[in-house]
Symmetry: C2
Subunit: 491 residues, 2 copies
């Protein structure tokens, strides 16, 4: 009776189940064997070409598409599952997270609102986060794609609460003064991006100097606020960082919280990866004050290894959060019973109306592993960073370029008497060589103007031996590059 | 050697594979059998309580967590997989989409940038979208969580291109005039939300009257633009809708495109679910002009049934798109080779730096089913809507409240000589009853002030018989409610 119309369900469910089992097995095999594979390999031109096709009109069938995935996509991964991926700040993923994604997608919930199971799972996850960070009962939260979006939401609430007039209605026309947000010189680029979106502009971001440990200097902040007030600008927010991207430093959050209270400013904490380091034994102290933030942004897809993407915003006073995003529309009217019950709806706490069931992979991850084990994995990464820094210090041809407060080691190869520009070039080549040879994948940054090899240890699979392999290769490649240069010089 | 440190990989891979197979089978069984289940059932209080627990410190293990998922979460779905879910605009999902989510999560790619397979898949998907909608080669695109985010991005580019001064740097301080964006009275709430975020404010949204078919009246738009210019406001954008949420109407996009060209305004099209209706045979004509949009926002998770969440923004001139979001940061410096190659990076086209591998489920869906079959499923939904409207028209106790240009039928139960307020109450009760009894899940809206039962047919599993079941139940419940009221009246 139903056959006359097209359905997108499998014709043969048993065959489809078998296909799922096979592909699940292949994908898990790739995770299980990741250590034996190159960290990264570029997608060859032939594969790129083969992947290209006009928009497919005809059905190719799941089996054929699955086979193409295994051949042309799976081998060319980002690299971040590998224990010697040290680039940027990428989580390593977990098999149980992938399983949760299948289950969430099979349910296909829209968690923008209404009354159904997925909503309760997200609420539970948010309650856990409030508990972890010591936020009050009236705090609200929302799962988002990551800290960029979380920071955008936090600063939206800050702007709407503190700018002149009803910003939601009138926009910034009602605000004659330049709004100013303060952050350290080491702040992440997502803050400037958020200010640009919000109509405040980069000009509204005041970068405050940091000390030798890359921590914001509170007195400099205080001076900057005074100056801006004197010059008729309107300070409204301070962004404190828990874990800078360059070296993993954290600002003195408790002092920032006191200053913000005294100055009636909003304290937003960008804790993208650093915030959850408080799960590691003995590390809670360095984030003291985080529990006083007005809003806190952080990621699950970094140091909790939840598959991409998954982040969170917490807002201290839930009423302010909701007042910045809630709207009424006829076709979205909430009801007091039935499927349209379940108020408040999550779409009233952020810009998105349709929302996937991200909460399930977070729920699975936290429950399966438990916060203690997740915290131990974080602690192990930090211990490895200290160890790596120690190894660097023992090598005459290597040089540590920054302190190691968390899990990031910035160092470089140094030849004898080579000018800075040449050293920059050598170290940048070393990093690209390491990646292209599939040995390891650190990234680069600049510390005090010098190009650094940046090793961020953010992977539950990384072991001490991986650090030795990294340094061995850096030494070898560095010497090669240096020899090449001196050969050119002599020629 | 590695055992001294915690890893989040399974201790026993074979056992974990078996667990995955079992849970995949259970989840697929729920999809396969969805027709025999209630459309929706509330989560009982006992289950809600059982779900609640303090943040788990100890590992519970994947097996136990999986069992809890099957017992406490899977049964309490959103309902949108069911063929008689008619609420809001929800896609129905597909098993192959869920499989793709497992595979994407197992790879755990961060598609914010760099050079790896997932990036090439997303580029391919965007090329397909440009081809589908007739966008030029220089157009750019980005996969996002949905149309709310896509519209935010489209209007950000519009604002940055057309407002006075360098908005990214100076914010809106450089713009002394009220920026004005035009849209029909039937526009989706995400447009106002975007304007609020962008610092333009709701005041900057001018709602233009619609005709009897709920289509924006272009002459009224023209008048509004003239008036705003005369009064020193600055028109900058028009939002055309392809598929209004209330009844599925589409604005005259070709006329809007001409007007926007003549007036130097940005044309953004909100095509959340309606845009992809051009895949249905014979429906391309009603969206004529969509290929001329400056930006186009639409969802894959609605009428392509890709699991939540997945939407897309296309921008006609890719350079303008990138100029609105690209930034440079030391630790994110792109390289000409190695893993940090692959420019331009997707993070330079939107607010997010970390981005999941959404593209894979879209790629799997389009290839597995092919655009022809996906278009036929859309056409079948529209045919069913016409059929439902016909059935409503034949029932004396039912009344059609709006035209049916696409896939949405707004109607109501009408008793004899009942006041409007009572009819509203009866119809709202009918909808909640339908949901609570698990028979069907339409939603409600208001059409011309009257509460309507709104049936949006957006499910590849829906068949003619489902419409009959819906109307049968509406009649029965309506009579019951009417009888209860008259009993109360006589008592």
């Amino acid at each position: 009776m139903h056959t006359e119309l097209p359905s997108l369900d499998p014709d043969d469910w048993a065959a489809f189940r078998t296909l799922c089992h096979d592909l699940v097995d292949e994908a898990l095999k790739a995770v299980e064997g990741v250590r034996e594979m190159p960290v990264w390999q570029p997608m060859p031109d032939a594969v790129r070409s083969a992947l290209r096709e006009p928009a497919p009109r005809s059905a190719q069938g799941a089996e054929r598409v699955g086979a193409e995935f295994l051949k042309r996509i799976l081998p060319y991964a980002n690299g971040n599952l590998h224990p010697r991926f040290f680039g940027w700040v990428h989580g390593a993923g977990t098999p149980v997270g992938a399983l949760a994604e299948f289950l969430a997608a099979s349910m296909n919930a829209n968690v923008g609102g209404r009354d159904h199971g997925a909503v309760h799972v997200e609420r539970q996850v948010i309650e856990w986060c409030k508990e972890i960070f010591g936020f009050p009962a009236e705090a609200s939260g929302l799962l988002v794609s990551g800290t960029s979006m979380a920071t955008l939401i936090g600063l939206t609430v800050a702007r709407n609460v503190l700018a002149e007039g009803d910003v939601r209605d009138l926009g910034l026309l009602a605000e004659p003064r330049q709004l100013v947000c303060y952050a350290s010189q080491q702040v992440h680029g997502s803050v400037a991006k958020a200010l640009e979106l919000l109509g405040i502009g980069r000009r509204g971001l005041r970068l405050v100097p940091v000390d030798a440990e890359h921590r914001l200097i509170v007195e400099e902040l205080h001076n900057a606020i005074r100056l801006d007030r004197a010059e008729e600008r309107r300070p409204f927010a301070v962004v404190g960082t828990a874990g800078t991207v360059n070296i993993g430093a954290s600002d003195p959050l408790a002092e920032l919280a006191s200053l913000c209270r005294a100055e009636s400013l909003w304290l937003h904490v960008d804790g993208a990866f650093g915030a959850l380091s408080l799960l590691a034994p003995g590390r809670r102290g360095s984030l003291k004050g985080i529990e006083q933030a007005d809003s806190l942004a952080f990621d699950f897809h970094k140091w909790l290894h939840v598959p991409y993407d998954a982040g969170c915003i917490l807002v201290r006073r839930g009423g302010q959060h909701r007042a910045s995003f809630a709207r009424e529309q006829d076709y979205l009217a909430a009801a007091d019973r039935g499927l349209a019950g379940g108020a408040p709806w999550f779409c009233d706490f952020g810009p998105e109306l349709s929302r996937g069931f991200r909460a399930l992979k977070v729920w699975f991850t936290i429950k399966t592993h438990g916060l203690d084990q997740l915290g131990q994995a974080i602690a192990a990464n930090c211990d490895l960073a200290v160890r790596l820094a120690g190894l660097v210090g023992k090598e005459p041809c290597l040089e540590l370029l920054a302190p190691v407060p968390l899990n990031i080691v910035c160092f470089r190869y140094r030849g004898e008497g080579l000018p800075e520009a040449v050293l920059d070039r050598i170290n940048s080549d070393i990093v690209a060589d390491l990646q292209e040879q599939g040995i390891a994948a650190p990234s680069t940054t600049r510390i005090g103007g010098r190009l650094a090899i940046r090793a961020c240890i953010c992977n539950h699979r990384t072991r001490a031996r991986d650090l030795e392999i990294l340094l061995e290769a850096v030494r070898t490649l560095g010497r090669q590059r240096e020899a090449e240069l001196s050969a050119v010089g002599q020629a």
